[in-house]
Symmetry: C2
Subunit: 180 residues, 2 copies
Amino acid sequence: MVILVDMDDVLADFDGEFLKRWREEYPDKFYIPLEERKSFYIKEEYPEELLGLVTGLYYAEGFVRSLPEITGAVEGIKKLKEKGHDVFICTSPLIQYRNCVREKYEWIEEHLGHDWTLKLILTRDKTLVQGDILIDDKPEITGARVPVWEHVLFEKSYNEYVKGKRRMNWGNMEEVLREI
Amino acid sequence: MVILVDMDDVLADFDGEFLKRWREEYPDKFYIPLEERKSFYIKEEYPEELLGLVTGLYYAEGFVRSLPEITGAVEGIKKLKEKGHDVFICTSPLIQYRNCVREKYEWIEEHLGHDWTLKLILTRDKTLVQGDILIDDKPEITGARVPVWEHVLFEKSYNEYVKGKRRMNWGNMEEVLREI
């Protein structure tokens, strides 16, 4: 199978690192614990007057490169490859691309090795990418085409409401994919 | 139609800028005039002992950002959009991605505007991208999947030998696409 794996919050802990830095930087300001997040986008859950500070944190130089690995992700994606699947990392850059695009490649090189940087696909429209499966935490994925992949939801609090899609995490990945 | 447009040597004059800098930097060394190029890859046509100098030029910081526009490209791609097509720029980063990935976005922002950076797709495997047409100067495009697009060859000396594909340049683009 061609398996497409999303990067932010599936391989790299974007939301966790954001919250850690936010609490360190602004300990007295409003925040939402990870498990209480109801929206895919951080900026939809923070008050408008804080948005400059919020985006300032994750657009900053070094933020994307510094993201910790989601537990089990590196081992999990390597296992997919070992099982003979053709695995690609399919990720949408931030609108302010300046630091994020290079740092996504750097993150992949550091955590998975240079060969995996050749498997990176950057696109803001994932419906255009062919594959059998897309593993992604975003609740609904739309774009210019009808997707040909099955969307397997990577489990997060903000996608619990979605019905009718398989759900997985790196712990039960093999069982879930075995059924496909 | 969803139209995918390659970047290097279709929108941005990679080979032309390379040759210009090569002649400036190493006026006494071997070179190949653009119209005599027979291979898609510059490095396949230069002697092995020069490869360090060759790649050093195009991996350098600022090279990709500085590329001149291919004549008619910016006007041409905007025209495709005006005609109602859904246009994406589909480009393969260099193996040494460090400067090139960010600078591709910067080039698009400078020459086409920020909105077009959202239409950029970076992938080393273009067969994975869905579209009706891919406009690309590479003679043969292979990868993990059977492509769903029709490959329209952007005319260059090194793809003249290819039979059975439509050929175009920014001058005759409208005529060629009208037949599809």
